[in-house]
Amino acid sequence: MDKQKTQDASVFVRSFEQQEATLAPSVAKSSQFVAPGDDILSQENVVRGHGTMVQGTRLTSTVAGLVERVNKLVAVLPIRARYSAEVGDVVVGRIRDVVSRRWKVDVNSRQDAVLLLSAVNLPGGVQRRRTYEDELKMREFYDQDDLISAEVQELKQDGLIMLHTRSLKYGKLENGIFISVTAQLVKRSKKHFHHLPCGIDIILGNNGYVWIYIDETTAYAEDEEERTFPEKKKSAKSNIDQTLSAIRIRNSIYILDLYFLSIQPETIMLIYEQTIQKEIPVQHMLRPDIMNDIYRRVMNTKEM
């Protein structure tokens, strides 16, 4: 009987129709939605911002999104768009290419961001000019396809994003899971490195790239050199539990992204707790009926 059950659980089929009425927008009701070409109602002499355009005497929108007014500035924030960087943003990026004295980093933006060799910390934290040897060793620091966390240092005139990793908290990402979400769902905040109550750490990149990891470095000195060689001496048992919580967090974030809900530690934990409470095994979390159920429950218990 038990065997039969597990075997059955390996396949889940359902028809498409049951899902429909799920994507209810969860945005505040008072705000104004516009489609491209729609008039934006406004008083005289406003300052027009991004996503707007003057056609004759009318002020119209050029993107689908929410009208945002700050004093005289009128702008339209697109609902889904590629990430547009601001100085100081914490991002998670993927190295796309290693070229002379710089890395090209994919940050889900319009163009690849640039991380200069001079904008990274050298191993051991020494301060010196970058030598030719450093240049040769660039692939040892960050190789192609590696994930890194970084901060936006500067925006050039043409929109080029310059990154830096000159802090111990930034650098190569290891021992974790990557998931990409809609960038707009991650709000700018003071803190982007979070230690969740369930013992999992996450980095919520402003660009919509999220890194879920198990921080093993806390036990070691916060030194770059040691960080690159994390020893794995944990007992297998705790490892599995941690991995399962990390996956549960990943799936919670996936659900938040699917239902277009704001992604913050609080909301993630809300979904997480809900699934624990309902005793939903982690492999069933992504089943459409269960996701819908979780969503309903969460929306009922708390106004998000």
């Binding site: 075997q7 059955d8 659980a9 390996s10 396949v11 889940f12 089929v13 359902r14 028809s15 498409f16 129709e17 899902q19 993927r94 190295i95 796309r96 994919d106 190789d143 396809d145 590696d146 994930l147 190569k172 990402l173 290891e174 021992n175 974790g176 899971i177 990557f178 297998a236 490892n239 599995i240 991995t243 399962l244 996956i247 549960r248 990943r250 799936n251 095994p281 982690v282 492999q283 069933h284 979390m285 992504l286 089943r287 459409p288």
Partner: protein, 275 residues
Amino acid sequence: MFAVSKAERSYLLETVETGTRLDGRSLYEYRPISLQVGVLPSASGSSRLRLGETEVLVGVKVEVGETAESSTENVHIYFTVECSGSASADFLGREAENWSSELQKALESAYSAASVFDDERLKLVPGKFCWVFKVDILVLDTGGNMLDAIGMATRTALSTTLIPRVNIQQSEGTFELEIDDNPSACDNLKVEGAPIFLTFSLIGSHFVLDPSVQEETCSRGRLSVAVDANGDICYVCSFGLLDAVELARLLTIMKKTGKVLLDRLDECVRNGNSS
């Protein structure tokens, strides 16, 4: 090109080592499947299937065609797989062609090996006329394991295909076919024998069923098998270094999962039709 860093790869390997995968599934578990039939009004049978992030649309068109005298088949079946550029950045130029000819080849082999259309009712005039089924497959979204999704969608599309009744009149050695164009006088195509595909990816030293894109990128090899309802093997394609001793174990898993999968698909189609 889907990118995976070394760290992600090793974490994936470690996790698979413990018997789970990065989306929480166990090693031999399929992602949730969503299914809809009768989506294309212009086709005789159609289905839309979503397997995790992979989505495909299948339409079957039924025609009557002339056949070579030596042929004894009731049905000529043609597959076209279109990997649209909108589905994935990998589907550009040559790459898309390679994908579609590979998928097409797999479907053709599997369907020609499995005796799907042995139904007496499908017999027209042997050596003169036969049914021509054109199966058009469009890949809408790619999230790994396209072959399995396409196999399942094709089978369900065929199972909902309506075949018009044909009246054959013979006069002086020539045959006249009278096709009943009343939609209510159509027969449902029987496809109990149609195979589905099951794909394993080899990650580290473990095999995982129904790989996601990330798992496909990290895999050392792949094993795709087409099985029919009896558990017979209709097509196999594998590459990468596989351990020969594992084959027997994998095939048992496939046989078992394939059966469950077929039952669930049929059940879903039945429920969809009745409601």
